[in-house]
């Protein structure tokens, strides 16, 4: 359970981080997924670029109607209320149930999203929000809708050479309705089925079904949704039943 040898680099600024990435380095945020993968030798990078010390990597900024969450913001910071308002309350509830506190102290929202483990919490929850992932490349920043950011199992819309810089989410009204359910046999373990639903006033309810063996399923308008029809493609009967339960629970929870 020891990693294969790798070199370690700590870029001091974003151009240095992008240059390391261009040279083939594996970016590392909090290292709470990559760390175990290194130990298990599922990942054997020649060089790791530690993003944690980059200026502005962590932190939350309110910019008018948008809230920009630095990709390096930890789950624990979000759990402890780093994001203000109704949005912050929703995200804090999600963050509290990610893995365990010692993991949340280092694991980050951006690292988790960019890693794109299908069972991960932010992968399951963020597509429900009308927001963007902010990617940084050699050309500057570009915005990718969160509903289209994760494209498959451990696959994202990030192009080679791009880093996830921030998550931009809208300020939510207090009347925003939110429902989230995930199934874990033990608190903190990987989810076996996750669903969530966000209903904003004057907008159709958005629903996400995740922890599948594909990218999360995003339903832009869940009005009149038939949960059974949505899970027919899940071949394993146990997982299909769990997914169905997750859908029913969030639809009931948001009613």
């Amino acid at each position: 359970m020891k990693p294969a040898a790798f070199d370690y680099a700590r870029p001091a600024d974003w151009p240095a981080a992008l240059a390391l990435l261009a040279g083939g380095a594996r970016p590392m945020a909090g290292g709470q997924s990559l760390g175990p993968m290194l130990n298990l030798r599922l990942a054997q990078p020649e060089r790791v670029a530690d993003l944690r010390h980059l200026p502005g990597y962590a932190g939350v900024e309110v910019q008018g109607e948008a809230i920009r969450i630095g990709a390096g913001t930890t789950h624990a910071a979000i759990e402890d209320g780093a994001v203000p308002g109704r949005l912050g309350a929703i995200l804090a509830g999600v963050a509290r149930r990610i893995a365990y506190r010692p993991v949340r102290n280092r694991g980050t929202i951006g690292g988790s999203l960019a890693h794109a483990d299908p069972a991960a919490d932010w992968v399951a929850v963020l597509p429900a929000f009308p927001g963007h992932a902010v990617a940084l490349g050699p050309y500057g920043e570009r915005r990718i809708p969160l509903a289209r950011f994760v494209t498959g199992v451990f696959e994202t819309a990030l192009a080679p050479g791009e880093l996830l810089r921030a998550i931009e989410l809208p300020v939510l009204p207090e009347t925003a309705r939110w429902s989230h359910w995930k199934f874990c046999r033990k608190p903190g373990e990987f989810s076996k089925a996750t669903a969530c639903l966000l209903a904003l006033p004057d907008a159709p309810p958005r629903l996400v079904l995740a922890a599948l063996d594909t990218a999360p399923l995003v339903i832009e308008d869940a009005t009149g949704l038939d949960p059974a029809a949505l899970v027919t493609s899940i071949s394993d009967p146990w997982r299909r039943r769990l997914a169905l339960t997750a859908l029913r629970r969030v639809l009931e929870g948001a009613a």
Partner: protein, 158 residues
């Protein structure tokens, strides 16, 4: 990969050790600094035995590698001798039979201290939820949960 000097603070002492970037913090503490109170269980971040404080917050030392520790402040179980919350927890662990083999205990204590300080109003359900990341194969957790609840109650009473 060759070893390189890593400078960090451990239990209040500045240390410079030679380590490969891939060496994880638990091995660094045990092998280079002979601080064997930190125990290694699963070595992939699941069991919690290796939990130490990194820059003031609990973290898994088995999935944190030497390079990333450069400049960090580490506090291991050996660094809590004079800490009053840890003293109360040690007493309570003893009184409530919260350990048998002791393998999980250093990680349990670091997690328990974080629960006591961060969640002073925690009830039994919350303590159990917060402890879910620390595995014990002897006690069935009852004694550990009771020990933490005892310290929480003592602190609320004063």
């Amino acid at each position: 990969m060759t070893r390189r000097p890593i400078t960090l603070t451990v239990n209040g002492r500045a240390e410079t050790v030679l380590a490969e970037p891939r060496t994880h913090l638990a091995d660094l503490l045990r092998g280079e600094l002979l601080l064997t109170g930190t125990h290694i269980g699963c070595e992939h971040g699941v069991c919690g035995a290796c939990t130490v404080e990194v820059d003031g917050a609990p973290a898994r030392s088995c999935i944190l590698h030497a390079g990333a520790c450069e400049g960090s402040g580490i506090r291991t179980i050996e660094g809590f001798d004079a800490d009053p919350v840890m003293a109360a927890l040690r007493e309570a662990f003893s009184a409530e039979h919260a350990l048998q083999c002791g393998y999980c205990t250093p990680g349990m204590l670091v997690t328990a201290r974080d629960i006591v300080l961060r969640l002073p109003e925690a009830d039994e359900a919350r303590v159990r939820e917060e402890l879910a990341g620390n595995l014990c194969r002897c006690t069935g957790y009852r004694g550990i949960v009771h020990a933490i609840l005892r310290v929480l109650a003592e602190r609320r009473a004063t």
